[in-house]
Symmetry: C2
Subunit: 344 residues, 2 copies
């Protein structure tokens, strides 16, 4: 997910975070059990950006429950998804807990605590029905609301809808789940998809990936119904591609985060373009790229950094597909949303 | 070294970088030889911040000299010293070249290219003699000017000075060499030390570590002689310690960079203070720490981030020694500069 993950539907700005804090399940018992089972002496905790400020409180609660000789460590690395594990801390702790996301890949070493939200979804779904057209509807949500997926489905079915769902691919844990970079669960036989969840980050990606479908947003966190509008995003993408068409020197970014690497893509571009330079990094930020005197960048890492944060960079930044258009290998009509499949 | 390494004597701002570019030795033959010897297919290049923009040109030159099947990769990670190796890239390349620093620890895997400067040192040393008092003088410099160390010594001896030099400890490669975090080479029997090199970053650290000595700066890059003045720095340190005296919640930073970790120090603080939280990260930046609701931080990583960048953080940040003063374990008079010893 991109660094803008929390810019829309950001819990910190809504007050929702505190209000519902006690209703979130940190699954401390599961962690304590794992510590005892493994005779662990070091426990690592990783939180995504919007939840980091809760880290010390969770550490306090855990320390009360754990033997004195156990050291609890909190990852201070930025984290934007289940693709973004702190592998340094993971390798150096006996129990490593990743909060806020569901597993991208199961591992005995990692305890994933998705932090299910207990916010009610029924009222906002009722309200969203006004935006639906016809009886076929796809249904998707995020890890935080997965615990209520069957409730969502039942509610829609009771209202007479034919609900289409699927599990996307092996990057996704659950049926109906979407990630910022993967909407394979919306590859269903319906012209509209209902997204139930907080913020616009996910439904905007969904609408870009499936431009032929109407994407209705039922946001139970901010208590608002809307329809995803990708116009601004698409304009930005076309503008970036056009700007990059004159580029001579290309920086090709290979992201070193465990779940964000597309090596074959990066290597192929560099092999085919003698004016392309391979640059490796974990956090892809405007500051870090400003050091490189390139005309444009192609980011083979997280597509949401490219699409959502792109305008913050000093030079155009494209997805691999957009790069092929900019250098003339593909026609402009082929511009599409960059998605990420598989794990590691 | 801190993120301010290039704020004083920054080559980018002086025009020196371009002027002397061709006089710097990138030692490409040595790299090409290693590639052939190891039948390497992947070559990784790492440059410190002030040299990163030269990366693509060095890659160009190398690609002309190397077989077609060799992939050259440039590290996009921030880099502030020989303590700060891109271990991800190092592990995934057959030849890994670190530019701009001398070895902190020898390794068969790594080629260190210190980038010796060919700027003349004699004229500025002549000029600096006016600031020297008495005949005993210590002599120190940085990796970039190490190639002229004997010339510096001879020049001083010819002028009648007794030149005191030593190799610091095993963190330092050469006799007379200083690092931003280590001035053991100035532990010599003289009341004054002549620092020959660019910028004020190193001599300021030297003067803080050895407050009883006069530190004369002969800067051949910016062509200026001055005397290190630590007053502003010391005021800031006292102010930070005072502010942190009321702190309840302490964030204890363990830096995960290969040469910046002081695990025992971090662990001891957390064990002794139940209101201390261990936070692990590589880049220690204001943005990353803003996510944590602490009253103060103690940074067991690079001391120069604490002393030079400290005021940029939202809460006081102290060195381990300053922490002991702030929590009342040591008297205020014991405030001293934090230095870093050993390797990894």
């Amino acid at each position: 997910m991109s660094q803008n993950e929390f810019s829309e539907g950001d819990l910190r700005n809504t007050g929702m975070a505190l209000k519902h804090d006690r209703e979130w399940d940190y699954e401390l018992e599961r962690i304590v059990e794992a510590v005892h089972e493994r005779d662990a002496e070091k426990v690592g905790l990783q939180f995504p950006e919007g939840l980091k400020r809760r880290g010390p409180k969770v550490a306090d609660d855990l320390r009360e429950l754990l033997p004195e000789n156990v050291t609890v460590m909190i990852s201070g690395q930025p984290c934007y998804g289940a693709c973004d594990l702190d592998t340094f801390l993971m390798k150096r702790t006996d129990v490593f807990v990743h909060f806020g996301h569901s597993p991208m890949k199961e591992s005995e070493k990692i305890i994933y605590v998705p932090l299910f939200s207990n916010v009610e979804v029924a009222p906002i779904i009722e309200e969203s029905l006004e935006e639906l057209e016809g009886e076929d509807v796809g249904l998707v949500t995020t890890a935080q609301h997965m615990n209520r997926f069957e409730e969502m489905r039942t509610l829609l079915e009771e209202r007479g809808y034919e609900v289409h769902t699927r599990r996307g691919d092996d990057r996704l844990t659950h049926e109906g789940q979407v990630l910022g970079c993967n909407y394979a669960s919306a590859d269903i036989d319906a012209d509209q998809v209902l997204y139930v969840g907080g913020g616009k980050f996910h439904p905007l990606g969904l609408a870009m990936e499936h431009p032929e479908k109407k994407v209705v947003i039922a946001d139970p966190v901010n208590n608002v119904v809307s329809v995803a509008d990708t116009e601004q995003f698409m304009k930005q993408r076309y503008a970036s591609v056009h700007k990059a068409m004159d580029a001579q020197k290309w920086g090709v970014i290979f992201c070193t985060k465990i779940g964000q690497g597309r090596w074959e893509t990066a290597e192929r571009i560099v092999e085919e373009n003698e004016n392309a330079y391979l640059i490796t990094m974990d956090e892809v930020t405007p500051d870090r790229l400003r050091n490189f005197d390139m005309d444009a960048f192609v980011n083979t890492g997280c597509p949401r950094i490219t699409t959502d944060d792109g305008p913050r960079f000093h030079k155009p930044m494209l997805t691999p597909g957009e790069y092929e258009i900019a250098v003339g290998n593909e026609p402009l009509e082929d511009l599409s949303f960059d998605t990420f499949h598989g794990t590691w």
